[in-house]
């Protein structure tokens, strides 16, 4: 506001001589005086310009000193105005009135320059203090503003930090697997509830102790430590299998980054897979068992197949003679009837061991059975591959002769008949009678064929046995 040490001093003095004296003194003291000759003029000047010091006479025409002083005090929005009242009056009451009106100091008339100098020095001190106070106040206000903004920021930041911390804690504590954080020295920082439970320890036990101490050096072996140290070189790891002698864990780790992006810690999760590993082993063991059972089943199936085949054979084979039984004959016949209808030639020969009943009666059933076996064997060995021989029942046999006419079948049967006749026998000679019929014409099904053969056989028996009779001709060939 002022140049260093120079005050602008407004003088209100009705006596021009006194005003001049004051102005001269003020000027000689290095300050800048402005003279007004009445309270009103001084008031106008003060409203237009800012004066830090006002020197005012007490008694003036019109507005007097105390009134001017009151008005100055009522002014707002400017620097402090230091008012010095000029007075010849030494009265205590007057001084109190002036003070009440707002005067800061008094100066006795007539003027004493030394006194003025001292009063102005005080004024200067007060004004500069006032100035400093205002500056300080402004600066304080600015600082308060800044502080308030900073506080707001801090509050917001701390709220964000608090929320982040809370969220991290919730996540950390809520993780359903054992989880811990650690620092670069591999000292534990936090363990979540699962981790504390899994490794059977309390928070205060774990805090700032080495990971290997708390979790055990079996689990945190050299490999595990290498992985943990890697976190602080920003090398995350995952799916490592760590084993503590009893339990198997799948370990995964991540570096924890601070606000400046630097690594401030590591977080590690351990998933206990002991049960899963046990289950896997159990599954493997069961798989072996299943394989074994499967192999056994295969064997059993094989056996069953064989048994089935055997059963099947039993079902189609004659137990005594080992050739096809009646049932197998029927099946074969049915098949051939189908083929015969499409033009295939075939004949059926029925043969009966002659006088078998009396043979049995004479030499016993066992001897009879031997005869049947021998006849069957003879028939089997004498026939062509394509022909079919079966035991029809009792001492009757049947032969299906393929791709031949009735005559040719008769010739073949005669060979069979001769074969039987030539069979060696310890008891007596065995012969057989044959009835042969050809499929075709009126003989259009199996039943008819059997009936025709049977009739021919009956005829052969009637004609004297040991012979072959062809159904079509009704004539027999007697034994040679």
């Amino acid at each position: 506001m002022e140049q260093q040490g120079r005050l602008r001093v407004l003088i209100a003095e009705d006596s021009s001589v006194s005003a001049k004296v004051l102005a001269k003194a003020v000027s000689d003291l290095g300050h800048v005086p402005t003279i007004t000759h009445s309270g009103e003029d001084a008031w106008q000047e003060l409203q237009a310009f800012d004066y830090p010091v006002v020197l005012t006479d007490w008694v003036m025409p019109g507005m007097e000193g105390p009134e001017l002083c009151s008005r100055i005090r009522a002014l707002e929005g400017r620097g402090y105005t230091y008012v010095i009242m000029l007075t010849a009056k030494g009265d205590r009451e007057d001084r109190i009135a002036a003070m009440t009106a707002g005067a800061d100091d008094f100066l006795c008339k007539p003027l004493d320059r030394a006194e003025l100098s001292a009063r102005l020095a005080v004024a200067q001190r007060i004004i500069s203090m006032q100035q400093r106070l205002e500056d300080a106040n402004r600066s304080l206000q600015d600082q308060q503003e800044e502080l308030k903004l900073a506080l707001d920021r801090v509050e917001r930041s701390s709220k964000v930090a608090e929320m982040s911390q809370k969220r991290f804690s919730q996540l950390f504590e809520g993780l359903p697997v054992p989880t811990f954080t650690l620092d670069a020295n591999l000292k534990l920082y936090e363990m979540n509830k699962r981790a504390l439970a899994t490794f059977d320890c309390a928070h205060h036990d774990a805090f700032e102790r080495s990971v290997a101490d708390v979790l055990g050096s079996d689990l945190i072996n050299t490999d595990a430590e290498t992985a943990l140290r890697g976190l602080f070189r920003n090398e995350p790891f995952s799916d490592r299998e760590w084993f503590d002698g009893e339990r198997t864990f799948i370990a995964s780790g991540l570096p924890l980054l601070g606000p400046d992006g630097g690594i401030v810690g590591g977080i590690v999760t351990l998933v206990d897979v002991t049960a899963a590993r046990k289950a896997e082993q159990e599954v493997e063991r069961q798989l072996v068992e299943i394989n074994e059972a499967h192999a056994q089943l295969e064997t059993a199936n094989q056996e069953l197949k064989e048994l089935n085949e055997r059963l099947n054979a039993l079902a189609t084979e004659d137990g005594l003679t080992g050739i096809a039984n009646h049932r197998a004959f029927q099946e074969r016949l049915n098949t051939l009837v189908g083929e015969g209808k499409r033009g295939r030639a075939f004949c059926l020969a029925l043969l009966d061991v002659d006088n078998f009943k009396s043979f049995n009666d004479s030499f016993g059933h066992q001897a009879g059975d031997e005869v049947l076996k021998a006849v069957a064997a003879c028939l089997k060995s004498s026939l062509r591959e394509t022909d079919f021989v079966a035991r029809y029942g009792g001492e009757e046999f049947c032969v299906l002769l393929l791709d031949v006419s009735c005559e040719r079948a008769g010739e073949l049967c005669d060979v069979l008949r001769a074969g039987i006749e030539a069979l060696p026998n310890p008891h007596r000679q065995v012969t057989a009678s044959f009835g042969v019929a050809e499929f075709g014409g009126s003989i259009s099904d199996g039943e008819a064929l059997i009936r025709a053969s049977d009739e021919a056989l009956y005829q052969a028996k009637a004609e004297g046995r040991n012979r072959v009779v062809l159904a079509s001709r009704r004539s027999g060939q007697s034994a040679a």
């Binding site: 004296v21 001269k24 025409p61 010849a88 007539p110 320059r113």
Partner: protein, 122 residues
């Protein structure tokens, strides 16, 4: 503070020099100003007495007293004060003789200053 009542000279030269800061030119200027305003003031005071306007007389006497004491004209200041006190009280009964006394002091002062300043100037 000077005990100007003891002073016998019309003008306390030391005081004048003191309030002028030893500036002789300013002393002259100040004395010129004093005599100009005091002459006018005295005429006005006479008029106020004629008109028996004690308020105006009081104001004029007070101002004259202040100017006189400002330059160190103690005797002149004293007679003005006496008038001032009476006028303030509304008492103009002794105004005539008082005014005469003021004029006498003023003329005395004028003579003193002319003598001194003519010497000084010379």
């Amino acid at each position: 503070m000077k005990d100007y009542k003891e002073a016998s000279l019309p003008l306390d030269i030391e005081h004048l020099a003191d309030v002028s800061g030893g500036d002789w030119e300013f002393e002259c200027e100040l004395l010129d100003e004093y005599f100009t305003t005091a002459s006018t003031g005295l005429q006005s005071l006479s008029k106020a007495v004629e008109e028996a306007n004690s308020d105006e007389a009081h104001r004029l006497a007070h101002s004259l007293k202040g100017s006189s004491r400002s330059i160190g004209a103690w005797p002149m200041g004293d007679v003005c004060e006496q008038f001032d006190i009476a006028a303030r009280a509304g008492d103009l009964s002794e105004a005539g003789p008082m005014l005469e006394a003021i004029r006498a002091r003023f003329e005395e002062l004028e003579r003193f200053v002319r003598a001194k300043w003519n010497n000084k100037a010379a």
